[in-house]
């Protein structure tokens, strides 16, 4: 169970047609791009894949499609988060039946349950499957509900398939507390960096990394990850700073920034679904100009 190590996990965007349906033709291209540019696993649909804007049926269809397209070339991790525990657990079961290697879930959307019910939420999702289960902690997006060390320890105690925590808090203190305490009772517990801020996460114990910017700069992402896996973190500083700069540019462009950046790299993926704002022509122009000034992108692949 605990043998599964995700490694460098690409988190693809979900392309939509002008009529706002999932564009599976384009999604096939997205998947193939990631598989040909360094992905050791795929996780989908993450928040950067607009999971929360997809219906339950669409999320299931997307996962099924991905499994068929990937054909076992790399493991696929299904993101199954929802507001309702039962809904998320049902989605996890479906994902396992479809053939994913693991599932991942955040704290519940909207509700702010007490700590014991947050544990219950995760325990029921994890117990719904026999494949590895990861908790995804992203307080910047789900600020009201916190995860504490004792909750993680309770989950380790309750779930034999609880494989680890994907951290997007970027909080050194949180990561150290979680992993140092988890390793005392479960040496195989995995800390996974939920973003490309891998130097600090790796230095305190992260061994895998989720990356959305892999759709923009897969070579840079792979370089950072590979250096970090050798634990030569001083050597990784330049790649880390380059990715931090790229991330700031994409973030400043707003919700449509990631797809806009992919478009600038010759990989048109359309606009995000409402209620997220589409990137305006002016916004795209500014984004493309800023990306054009990043020397590190000149060696990155253009087009599909």
């Amino acid at each position: 169970m605990q043998d599964f190590q995700p490694g460098l996990v690409h988190t693809p965007v979900t392309p939509f047609t002008p009529g706002l349906k999932i564009d599976f033709g384009l999604f096939e291209k997205v998947i193939e791009f990631h598989l040909h540019h360094g992905a050791q696993a795929l996780a989908l649909p993450m928040h950067t894949g607009e999971s929360v804007s997809l219906s339950d049926a669409e999320q299931r269809e997307l996962v099924t499609f991905a499994i068929k397209q990937v054909k076992g070339r790399v493991p696929v991790i299904a993101h199954v988060s929802d507001a309702g525990t039962g809904i998320a657990a049902g989605r996890a079961r479906h994902a396992q039946d479809a053939g994913v290697a693991a599932v991942v879930a955040t704290t519940p959307y909207y509700w702010t349950p007490p700590p014991a019910m947050v544990v219950e939420h995760f325990a029921q999702i994890g117990a719904a499957v026999s494949i590895p289960f990861f908790v995804f902690y992203t307080p910047g997006e789900l600020g009201a509900t916190k995860i504490e060390t004792d909750q993680v320890l309770k989950l380790i105690d309750r779930l034999s398939n609880f494989a680890g925590l994907v951290d997007a808090s970027l909080d050194w203190q949180f990561m150290i507390n979680i992993v140092s305490n988890a390793w005392r009772v479960c040496p195989d517990f995995q800390l996974v960096s939920g973003t490309e801020y891998m130097v600090s996460a790796g230095a305190v114990g992260a061994t895998s990394m989720f990356s959305s910017l892999s759709g923009v700069a897969p070579m840079l992402v792979r370089r950072l990850y590979d250096i970090c896996r050798t634990e030569k973190y001083f050597d990784a500083r330049q790649a880390q700073e380059d990715l931090a700069a790229l991330r700031q540019i994409v973030k400043r462009a707003g919700a449509g920034g990631l797809k806009g950046a992919m478009r600038a790299m010759g990989r048109e993926c359309g606009q995000p679904r409402p209620p997220l704002d589409a990137l305006s022509a002016g916004g795209y122009g500014k984004l493309a100009a800023e990306l054009g000034a990043l020397a590190v992108l000149r060696v990155e692949p253009r087009g599909w």
């Binding site: 970027l170 150290i176 600090s200 230095a203 114990g205 030569k232 931090a244």
Partner: protein, 304 residues
């Protein structure tokens, strides 16, 4: 005017007598202890030194002792932040008059100033004295009021004496946003971690830390910095986990628990002024147990 800030720097606690009045003789012993046990700089009074519970007159008296006792063995920085900006200005001018080596200041308290107001404040402070200026970023304690990369750039371009930042967000994204800008514009700028979160920050260019636990375990603090600086990742992680456990112990009722721990280590520094509590005998006994479990009692100096 230039000073170098690197390694494990100590921001001392403030010794008080049983009646809560200043205990200057013990302050002298404490300063000497820190210098003898490897502090590369002294800074007083950070929040750990109960700065906001001291009158301006008391702060001046302690500052004079700090400069006199350290006597140029290592640089002495004076923390000048006060509730009223006019008091901060007065403390800054006083620091220069008594021969301090630098001043340090956090973003203004209570108010939620605009970025321009924060800029104006630091420009006023930095131009009022002919001393190096260290900025202090602590967004979690000041309701999100914080430095950005852009604000840092503006201040570096405006102030030749802006030489360092105590960065206490403990967050990869925030640290990198500031460090990328600061170190590119001023390569000898010192990014200093608040508390000993060195494993995640030194590979990103962090020069050292303002220690929280140095009055308890100076050897451990020095060993952590040395392991980080040498790129010994596994060793650094092991020591970082130990110091994180100590930080969890001391940040509860900080700095009361720290003062309680100093009693255990044979270096009593008296009570903590209200509204902060003073560590009870039961709390001290618990701290002693924890220090015993961590091996601190056997490996660190006891007494002065």
């Amino acid at each position: 005017m230039s000073i170098s800030l690197k390694g494990v720097m100590q921001s001392t606690v403030t010794p008080l007598k049983a009646d809560f009045s200043p205990d200057l003789p013990t302050f002298e012993r404490l300063l000497d202890f820190h210098v003898r046990t490897g502090a590369t700089a002294i800074s007083w009074p950070h929040h750990k030194g109960e700065s906001l519970n001291l009158t301006i007159a008391e702060r001046k008296a302690f500052s004079e002792v700090a400069v006199k006792v350290v006597a140029g063995r290592v640089p002495v920085s004076i923390h000048v932040s006060a509730l009223a900006v006019e008091d901060s200005m007065e403390l800054a001018r006083h620091a220069q008059r008594i021969g301090a080596d630098a001043i340090i200041a956090i973003t203004p308290y209570f108010w939620a100033p605009t970025v321009d107001a924060i800029y104006d404040y630091f420009v006023r402070l930095g131009t009022a004295v002919d001393l190096p200026l260290i900025a202090y970023n602590s967004p979690s304690y000041l309701a999100g009021v914080e430095f950005t990369g852009e604000l840092t750039r503006r201040l570096i371009e405006r102030l030749p004496n802006f030489i360092a930042m105590k960065e206490a967000s403990f967050n990869s994204e925030k640290f990198l946003e500031i460090s990328r800008v600061a170190l590119a514009l001023r390569p000898n700028f010192s990014m200093i971690a608040g508390v000993e979160f060195l494993a995640p920050s030194v590979p990103l260019g962090c020069a050292g830390s303002y220690s929280s636990a140095g009055a308890i375990c100076p050897n451990l603090c020095t060993q952590l910095y040395a392991a980080c600086a040498a790129g010994e990742s596994a060793r650094a992680r092991e020591l970082q986990f130990k110091l994180a456990r100590l930080w969890n112990l001391f940040r509860d009722q900080y700095p009361s628990s720290l003062k309680g721990g100093m009693v255990v280590m044979g270096r009593p520094v008296g009570p903590t002024r209200p509204p902060l509590p003073t560590a009870s005998q039961e709390r001290q006994a618990y701290i002693a147990t924890q220090l015993g479990e961590l091996g601190i009692l056997e490996t660190e100096p006891h007494g002065w």
